[in-house]
């Protein structure tokens, strides 16, 4: 008796389960799906808004670059080079300092 009840109960559950996907109708737009999947593959977490925003920034940067292209003086180039060298040296110093601290910590732990 109990087994029969269980069997019927499971049959009902199976039907409820089968119908559970009926709450939504799923449609695929065949033409765009593959392209969208390819894009999504690159970064599933970036929204269209962000993509558009990045695109517009790139356009602005390109336009600005065209304005300045060829108009940068040697003085400006040298100045940027000096800044880059200074920044690189500073980063190296910080990294060395961190390495030293790490080594000291290891020695004290031993």
């Amino acid at each position: 008796m109990f087994e029969k009840e269980q069997k019927e109960g499971w049959q009902e559950l199976k039907e409820i389960w089968k119908n559970s996907s009926q709450t939504e109708k799923i449609n695929f737009q065949i033409s765009g799906l593959i392209d969208e999947l390819k894009d999504w593959y690159k970064s599933p977490m970036i929204s269209q808004f962000e993509k558009d925003s990045i695109k517009s920034n790139v356009i602005t940067i390109k336009a600005s670059w065209n304005q300045f292209k060829g108009k940068i003086s040697q003085f400006e180039k040298d100045s940027i080079n000096k800044d880059v060298t200074k920044i690189t040296a500073l980063v190296k110093k910080i990294l060395n300092l961190l390495r030293k601290i790490k080594t000291n910590n290891r020695r004290t732990n031993k």
Binding site: I26, F28, Q29
Partner: protein, 168 residues
């Protein structure tokens, strides 16, 4: 992807979309929606489509992917902690359900009770509800048919007790 392959891929999605969605509804935990999981499964099917050798049945292959993606979703969510972007090419339109109030309550109880099971038991009972044979469940889960039979006996009792308790 060639046109023929494209059509096969779309056909696979059309044939299996309801199965996939049923599984996604079980695994979706806020803020992840079943729709997020669904498109992740679609993406994984697309990604592994070229490597599908046809050694197993297509629906067996789809179930395997859906269960893998869905069971990993929690981990992925914890890692990324952000919402996924929805694909515009997959539309979810609300449909009128044929389920009455009592059936909806039973589904809710069933869903909650399945969610409380261990990952392995969850997969087994989902495949059982999908009316797959023990042999097919064994192929997907990597367990033996005997093991599935033993496990199902226990799961059936656990689920029945859980649902009865919830519907009291």
């Amino acid at each position: 992807m060639e046109n023929k392959a494209k059509l096969t891929f779309i056909q696979i999605l059309e044939d299996n979309k309801n199965r996939i969605y049923r599984i996604c509804r079980i695994y979706a935990v806020s803020p992840l929606e079943p729709q997020d999981l669904f498109q992740e499964v679609v993406y994984q099917i697309w990604k592994s489509f070229s490597t599908f050798k046809g050694k197993s049945n297509i629906s067996t292959w789809v179930y395997k992917i859906a269960l893998n993606v869905c069971s990993r979703s929690k981990m992925k969510l914890e890692k990324n902690n952000s919402k996924m972007v929805r694909l515009e090419s997959i539309q979810f339109l609300p449909a009128e359900s044929t389920q009455n109030k009592s059936q909806r309550e039973k589904y809710q109880a069933l869903r909650d009770c399945i969610s409380s099971l261990s990952e392995s038991n969850k997969s087994i009972v989902i495949l059982y509800l999908e009316e797959l044979s023990y042999k097919e469940i064994a192929t997907i889960t990597g367990l033996t048919e005997n093991h599935i039979a033993v496990k199902m006996k226990r799961i059936r009792k656990m689920l029945f007790d859980c649902i009865t308790h919830k519907l009291k």
